[in-house]
Symmetry: C2
Subunit: 109 residues, 2 copies
Amino acid sequence: MPHNHEELLKHVSADMPSDELLQDLGDLFKVFGDTTRIKIMYALYEDEMCVCAIADLLKMTQSAISHQLKVLKAANLVASRREGKTIYYRLADEHVKSIIGQGYEHITE
Amino acid sequence: MPHNHEELLKHVSADMPSDELLQDLGDLFKVFGDTTRIKIMYALYEDEMCVCAIADLLKMTQSAISHQLKVLKAANLVASRREGKTIYYRLADEHVKSIIGQGYEHITE
DNA sequence: TCAACATATGAACGATTGCTCATATGTTCA
DNA sequence: TGAACATATGAGCAATCGTTCATATGTTGA
């Protein structure tokens, strides 16, 4: 007979967040899971930037950057403001820095 | 003439980590970017668990869990020990909890 | 109002990902 | 040693992802 985990499972599943929240968590981290988006967030670490400056910095097309900014914005990781023709993006809150910071610590150990 | 960001770019790119590190960061977060793996990490939050207990808990096949544990282990997010036929997995370090914790805070605001 | 600029968006395509299925490896006990 | 159990692994397939290309939207100044 395969071994029995009934007790353990009862305990652990009681402490598990809802499937919906776990799905949202995965979706959030998926946004961090791409080098281009990580670079964009790092670029915005200190100051806001317009789309074409980010494109110049990363040597990528304006379109590619724009698509990724949309993803970042949908996840509430960046915010933007318009100034004439230009749109400036900035990090939306401190979580971005602390999440990246923790990741940084993990890989540089 | 499109507008000029030379000064800004010089400053920002000086503060950017290496491409290799940014790639590693993206790869790390990619591992967090899947609901199954998030669930596994949550299951291990309090205590170690064997593979079949995790499979039972998540109602998934042993094979699927085993594949994902391999990904988690390659990223140094979980560690394992053998006890007879059974292999117990546990979280590898505190970064897992703090990264998930920061993500949790971000989405529950 | 129209040309130039800045950004956004939709379709399409190649690459990556997560699961399943079949099977292999490793361990215990009779 | 061989049957039963626990886990790992490789191939294959559908689904998702990130980019490009073409084009649309929005803003300014002449």
